[in-house]
Symmetry: C2
Subunit: 189 residues, 2 copies
């Protein structure tokens, strides 16, 4: 009946409510503050309801990560298509750093917390799409090297800059010098 559909709709709505709440709480107070109890109180349901949507706390983190990946893909795509010819790499790389800076908790969820997201051949479509965006800007510069390996190296370099920078591991006063150096290395030859 139609009620069935309404129920499913409401369920889906509540699921995104949970994911959004988790994300906001994580950005506001860090992931350790995102507990099932607090999350339940926030969405005004009891704890077991959360377990009817997700297998456990980890699955909620994974969901936030997945949402972030989808978002990230959109950011990449927008940056790449809006960039001047030849400036695609710079635009995407800058977008990567900006995203990591603006959404540190989501970034953390994607790259260090998520454990249920397969990153290999059977990765979710959103993840492959995100990698494809990175591939699109790096592969043309690969020259005679393997374009996949070259892209991975490029991704790793940007990612290292983002993650070390996010944790305060790099000198703030050199912030603006780093990305140009990196871009220079990848485009020079």
């Amino acid at each position: 009946m139609a009620t069935q559909q309404r129920r499913e709709r409401e369920r889906a709505q509540r699921e995104t409510l949970i994911v959004n709440a988790a994300r906001e709480m994580a950005e506001a107070d860090g992931w350790p503050a995102v507990t099932i109890r607090r999350l339940a109180e926030r969405i005004e349901y009891s704890q077991p309801v959360l377990y009817s949507h997700f297998a456990g706390r980890g699955a909620i983190v994974d969901a936030v990560a997945l949402q972030g990946i989808v978002e990230l893909t959109g950011v990449f795509s927008a940056a790449r298509t809006a960039a001047a010819p030849g400036g695609e790499l710079a635009a995407v790389a800058q977008a990567y750093l900006d995203f990591a800076n603006a959404n540190p908790a989501v970034f953390e969820a994607i790259f260090t917390l998520a454990e249920g997201l397969p990153f290999g051949a059977d990765a979710p479509e959103a993840l492959k799409a995100a990698f494809a965006e990175i591939y699109a800007v790096f592969a043309p510069l690969a020259g005679d090297r393997d374009p996949d390996a070259f892209t991975e190296v490029g991704w790793a370099a940007i990612h290292g800059l983002a993650s070390l920078g996010r944790d305060g591991r790099l000198r703030p006063d050199l912030l603006e010098q780093r990305l140009p150096i990196l871009l220079d290395l990848f485009t020079k030859d």
Copy 2:
């Protein structure tokens, strides 16, 4: 009296016992398995004893991280001095990846878990020494760029490779291609 010194000696001994136990447990079963209770049982003391040595669980993780940094510095130094002329960067980079691979829990402690270790100007001596080793291999290649910024970019690139690789984020079949590409980028010009 002399007893005082003996006591301090025994205390220091017990402290390294704790750190070593934490490290071994983390490498064996992951950091979440390193609980105060298990740690206490392992060293055959009650939990409060741990708190007479460390401010809390986090401080123990920090201690493991610091020990790892000291070790890492030694590895770098050995790799660099043993390398053939011109091969220093390759040797240190490989040592970095090898260390991350051989001691994933320590690596995690250093770069994602440790929160009490200042990484800036007032970083511990061991950390500055480790960075100095990296600086020694990158700065000569900086050309007309700022050697500090150049070193940070180089470090970030290797670090990205190490951390993404450790978490299974990179294709295993491209493992051996990645480092040569990276070295090529940093030495080509």
